[in-house]
């Protein structure tokens, strides 16, 4: 493999890692604060992708015309999916999840599994079976040369977003007042309530943010990769692998896990395509055996 192709594969990994990070960070955040694993999280990612593609496609059309203005407008419209998903999350938590907090853990897994089924079909209902894409954005952004080949600038843009999101989340959780509240509630819910924090409000906000991340993942992926049915279920499994390796509830874990999974996947597709998926799942199983809390996780 030549140097140029190596660089391109590396960039592809980073692109993929950025998307995975967004999804996994959302999953981890929700678990870290609320001890909830949302099985519909992947489907929310899919919803974000579909909504974004639809919004951009409806308003801007699908042709890559209009130059910089069109690009700017499209980019501003892109997060529509993330916002929509955040709203869904904000409605979901108080109505469907809060009543189950007193019940054994298994119940919220069951309810979110039911939600997964509902949302998968809701996507099909709203957007039909054909793939939706916002490829116009990718075309408008053009390509940059890498060695003797060219590479989509949009992918680099996404890598930048992933990085910005990681830094932004880190700053948000560790440097803002709300972040302190989040961490306090995560550590000890009763104590936080005793100190006067509105735990209910913290929960719905944390959940909405986590869902927003998933939706954002969908929003940024859809210019590069069309939204298709079933993408959510596939993404959930990969997100699980990421958080298992990185540690449920850990931000650094989500980042490192996303990088590892992405690199293994890219290398796998290149060198051992048949067992690429199997290898990933086996790594997850191995990590769970050897270090159950993941690389960076706490119990």
């Amino acid at each position: 493999m030549t140097g140029t192709i190596f660089v391109i594969q590396l960039l592809n990994s980073l692109f993929y890692a950025a998307v995975l990070f967004l999804i996994a960070a959302g999953l981890s955040l929700i678990y870290g604060v609320m001890r909830i694993v949302n099985l519909a999280h992947g489907t929310l990612y899919a919803l974000g992708a579909y909504v974004s593609a639809w919004v951009v496609g409806s308003i801007m059309g699908h042709a890559a015309s209009g130059g910089s203005w069109a690009l700017l407008a499209s980019l501003l419209l892109l997060p529509a999916g993330a916002i929509a998903v955040a709203v869904v999350g904000a409605v979901m938590e108080p109505t469907l999840l809060r009543p189950l907090y007193r019940r054994p853990e298994e119940y919220h897994l069951l309810v979110t599994f039911g939600l997964l089924m509902i949302l998968e079909d809701a996507i099909k209902l709203m957007f039909g079976g054909t793939p939706l894409s916002a490829g116009s954005i990718m075309d408008l952004m053009g390509s940059i040369p890498v060695g003797r080949l060219i590479y989509p600038a949009y992918n680099l843009f996404v890598i930048a977003i992933g990085l910005a999101a990681a830094l932004g989340l880190w700053w948000f959780i560790y440097r803002t007042k709300f972040g302190v509240i989040l961490r306090a509630t995560a550590q000890d819910r009763r104590m936080a309530a005793a100190l006067g924090l509105n735990v209910g409000r913290v929960y719905v906000q944390a959940f909405a943010i986590g869902c927003f991340m998933a939706g954002l993942g969908g929003a940024v992926v859809v210019p590069a990769q069309a939204a298709v049915l079933g993408m959510g279920v596939e993404a959930l499994i990969l997100a699980f692998v990421v958080v298992v390796i990185g540690g449920l509830g850990s931000l650094e874990g989500a980042l490192v896990g996303a990088l590892i999974v992405s690199l293994v996947r890219t290398a796998g597709i290149q060198f051992f395509p048949e067992i690429e998926l199997a290898v990933l799942y086996l790594i997850a199983a191995a990590v769970l055996l050897v270090r159950p809390t993941g690389l960076f996780g706490r119990a």
């Binding site: 694993v37 853990e105 069951l110 089924m117 509902i118 079909d121 048949e274 086996l282």
Partner: protein
């Protein structure tokens, strides 16, 4: 204990006479049904009974040991694919040999997976079972030259023989004969599986599992090796579900990676919750009901998944005890109806 002693014991234990009567009545009804319903309905019911065996096995882990597995598709699929392999590659035609092979294959897989999974509980256990079942799915998916990939492997009922070759399905009218004979074959195995599971959950071992479910700390403090018992329960559970996979594949005629994909595990969970996972009969009822529910949902709307998902959400929020659990509660603990439905708990 000899079999006779067990049967006598089952027939003379608490509310045993009621139990035996109800069970026999149901069995008689089930035995008579193919004479009054059309072949399509018979096939449907056969599917229901097969899934009931799967759910019965699954619930040993959930209802009795307190472990929620999201990866039981692995054992169902192992059973199905093992049959497909030995029929295609070894030319086996005897259903009995297929069952043996399927049970062996499932035993190995569930022993291996179980060993890995029972080191954890709750959410991590669930994720681990899911990840491992996905390993199998991806193997079935990718190694298409062995497994047929998404096209799967065909299993022709015409090649099958029951009872060591006594019954075969060659020649004209074979499909009708197959539907009829296979129904009774499955029914007999269903009755046997139910009896065996009933004995297991009422045995000292079954009580030990419930102890582990209720309080694993105390269980170890009365001398029960929690991890080992969980592992054994896992294997038994997997083998039952594997048997269901074995019985399913001749009926379906085809096995594809879909039955290894984790949403199928979710369906098994759904069935048990629908029926009531804290009761013995709940998963059986839930599986049969779910089977009809899904069949009619799929037939009536393209968005059947939405329908079923809504049912599950409503179930969990409002009727967590499931069908059997709720009926038992409504009928009250003192009434006969309540005792009948709650039997075997």
């Amino acid at each position: 204990m000899t079999t006779a002693a067990i049967v006598v014991g089952a027939a003379t234990g608490p509310s045993a006479s009621r139990l035996t009567v109800v069970a026999l009545v149901i069995l008689v009804v089930l035995a008579v049904l193919p004479y009054v319903i059309d072949p399509y309905q018979t096939v449907l019911l056969t599917y229901g009974l097969v899934m009931a065996i799967a759910a019965l096995g699954f619930n040993l882990l959930l209802g009795y040991t307190g472990l929620l597995s999201f990866g039981h598709s692995a054992y169902f699929g192992t059973g199905a694919y093992t049959v497909a392999f030995i029929m295609r590659d070894l030319g086996v035609q005897s259903m009995e040999l297929c069952i043996l092979g399927g049970l062996l294959g499932t035993f190995v897989v569930s022993a291996l997976f179980g060993f890995v999974c029972v080191r954890h509980t709750r959410i991590f256990f669930g994720i681990l079972t899911l990840a491992l079942s996905q390993v199998l799915w991806s193997l079935a998916f990718k190694f298409f030259w062995v497994t047929g990939g998404t096209d799967g492997i065909r299993v022709a009922y015409a090649k099958l023989t029951l009872f060591g070759g006594m019954i075969n399905f060659a020649g004209p009218g074979s499909f009708q004969r197959f539907v009829f004979a296979y129904y009774y074959y499955v029914l007999a195995l269903f009755a046997l599986a139910t009896l065996i599971m009933w004995i297991i959950v009422h045995s000292p071992f079954g009580k030990a599992l419930q102890a582990i479910r209720d309080n694993e700390t105390r269980a170890s403090f009365i001398g029960i090796s929690v991890r080992r018992y969980r592992w054994i329960a896992f294997v038994v559970s997997g083998v039952f579900t594997g048997l269901a996979g074995v019985l399913w594949v001749p009926l379906n005629g085809l096995t594809t990676p879909d039955i290894l994909y984790w949403p199928f595990s979710g369906e098994i969970v759904f069935m048990s919750v629908l029926g009531g996972f804290r009761t013995f009969t709940g998963p059986i009822v839930g599986a049969i009901v779910f089977n009809y529910l899904k069949t009619y949902a799929v037939a009536s709307t393209e968005y059947w998944q939405l329908l079923l998902g809504a049912v599950l959400v409503i179930l969990v929020m409002l009727l967590p005890a499931g069908i059997v659990g709720t009926v038992a509660r409504l009928a009250g603990k003192l009434s006969l109806a309540g005792k009948l439905i709650g039997w075997g708990k």
